[in-house]
Symmetry: none
Subunit: 199 residues, 4 copies
């Protein structure tokens, strides 16, 4: 399928160059189709981008949803959210980057709004999980959407750092650190729960 080939090439090119530096020529070249073919399958650059983002978010959402069963403890749920987001941010860092960082640039207003809806949808999905835990009385009383947004930024930024400068850190450390800061924060708790014995 050409359409698939195009989307795959587009993910690569967008990821490597960001939205603006990615050129339709490049995408066509990479997909080994004529430039016109892009426009046969997608109305334009912005919509191609949107389609990719939609698909990507759908995949990760589905993947997480499938693993989040209600019989899991909140701790385990948080852990899994972190793990899958790490998968997303580390394995598809270029893709994640354009979704979570480049969404507010100079994309056609119309498409930009849809994209922000998608991102918001993702945040809300995570917020729902938190919501569940809050109701169970495990979590402090916060605006869960705000918390979800913050968590995504935390994960994103940490992964960026990890990928760029984190040669001395291993992935498990990263995962552990993220779990820790999200659940119990950076401070040593009064009761003196020691580092490394959180579980």
């Amino acid at each position: 399928m050409n359409k698939t080939k195009i989307m795959s090439a587009a993910i690569d090119v967008f990821s490597e160059n960001g939205y603006h530096r990615a050129s339709m020529d490049d995408i066509a070249l990479r997909a080994k189709v004529a430039k016109g073919t892009l426009y046969y399958h997608f109305p334009g650059k912005a919509q191609l981008f949107k389609t990719i983002v939609m698909d990507g978010l759908q995949v990760i959402t589905d993947r997480i949803r499938n693993e989040l069963r209600t019989d899991l403890s909140l701790e385990e749920q948080i852990r899994r959210i972190i793990r899958h987001n790490l998968d997303l941010f580390l394995d598809s860092s270029g893709f994640a980057h354009i979704v979570f960082n480049e969404l507010s640039n100079g994309i056609d207003q119309e498409v930009l709004e849809e994209l922000n809806e998608l991102k918001l949808g993702y945040i809300r999905f995570i917020a729902e999980v938190l919501e569940g835990s809050r109701e169970e009385g495990v979590m402090i009383n916060v605006n869960c959407s705000l918390a979800a947004a913050g968590i995504v930024g935390l994960l994103n930024s940490s992964c960026d750092y990890f990928l760029t400068y984190g040669s001395s850190i291993n992935r498990d450390d990263l995962e552990h650190f993220l779990y820790q800061i999200i659940t119990t924060g950076l401070f040593l708790t009064p009761g003196g729960k020691p580092d490394g014995m959180l579980n």
Copy 2:
């Protein structure tokens, strides 16, 4: 000073449109100078951008540094870091956005590296503060740079959400939430420290 006028205009234009959609024409227009004048004072678009980012990070760094005296408790130091970052992200959200989100896109490789150095410098500056606290034994044992990077992402993303959808949240709540998640996390601590009585 024309140079100052240009930089001021450039901040506005870059903030409003992002790096790529910002045009030298726009900047010249806004600065009320001829386009050629831009090139008299700056070698090119990328360098103009770099200069702005450098200046901006310097200003915020200095401002925080001036308020962080070693005789302050770590709690107060964290609180001040959060407060000043909120000032940055909320008051100059456009500027903060391009610094923390758009830095990895399609800017000339050469300049991009320098910009990442700047960003890293900022993260290290925050990391140093954390480092201090860790040595005092108030903080858990983590890679402070990683933590700093994560915190910046957390702040950035939370502010984005706050600015776009957070009409029901007030700034104090936001500040409180950030302090909480950074210091003690989202979970209720074993000892049962109740929400709202963190200080």
Copy 3:
């Protein structure tokens, strides 16, 4: 018949957008056939256009010819020519427009010449009617083809004005005006034939 459906759709699309802005996609869409089908029935866009123009001119020519019997007075013949041309220009203004105005633009040279032949044929047809009258001594001595060409332009342009700005004029006035200018001109005749009593 698909061919008929295509021609009908093509008339609409060409009329609404002019030759150049009309796209084969639009025509196929409107005709509810696949784009390839257009090329099964017609060699290309220019030839499709030509076919439509030929058909249209044939229809109007036939219609007029059927009503012009030699036993009619010249006055009546002129009147009928005007009336049928008004029908054409007013009812099918889009079609008339492309035939009489857009014929000399950027259509493939080859087809363009054929189209001009068609238009010339139509002018000659009207010229013949005038010719007949001139021989009967009712008309002044002019080049009848030139007169016919002029009349078509007069009708065309008047109708354009009528359709765009002529809300205060009714069709009978328009018809009357055209009859008048063609037959006795704008000036009051020496004998003083008063307006409105021409018949």
Copy 4:
């Protein structure tokens, strides 16, 4: 002046090819400037076209206005209008063609409306002259704007025919014919004013 060179080249290219077939590349080539220079001086193709049309209509309007003094007889005024329009249509037939025929095609709606305003302005200008005569009681009672529109179409179409097929006609004949049809029409007048002795 480059701007002048561009406008001059644009007149040629538009005249030869019509609006749609005229390409900005062609115009730049003909004007011997870089493509970007076109866009430095004009916002786009449509506006370049508009500017040309405005200028052209202004020139012809001014030229006629300068020669139309109120002490002239209506006959002489009509004669001069015809003469100057012939100058326009014959000497600059390509230009006249795009102004009077191609104005309704696929030009950007916005610019198209302005262009129609211009054309209407020209028609109104001629209508005013007619208006004057009607008030003097020399002319029959007609809607002068309608008559002006018709006259322009008559002139335009006659000139087209003359240029394409009129090798056997000379310009004086053409001028005479037009004067005749406009003033006294095609019919022999009751009083029997013989052809060729209209003055």
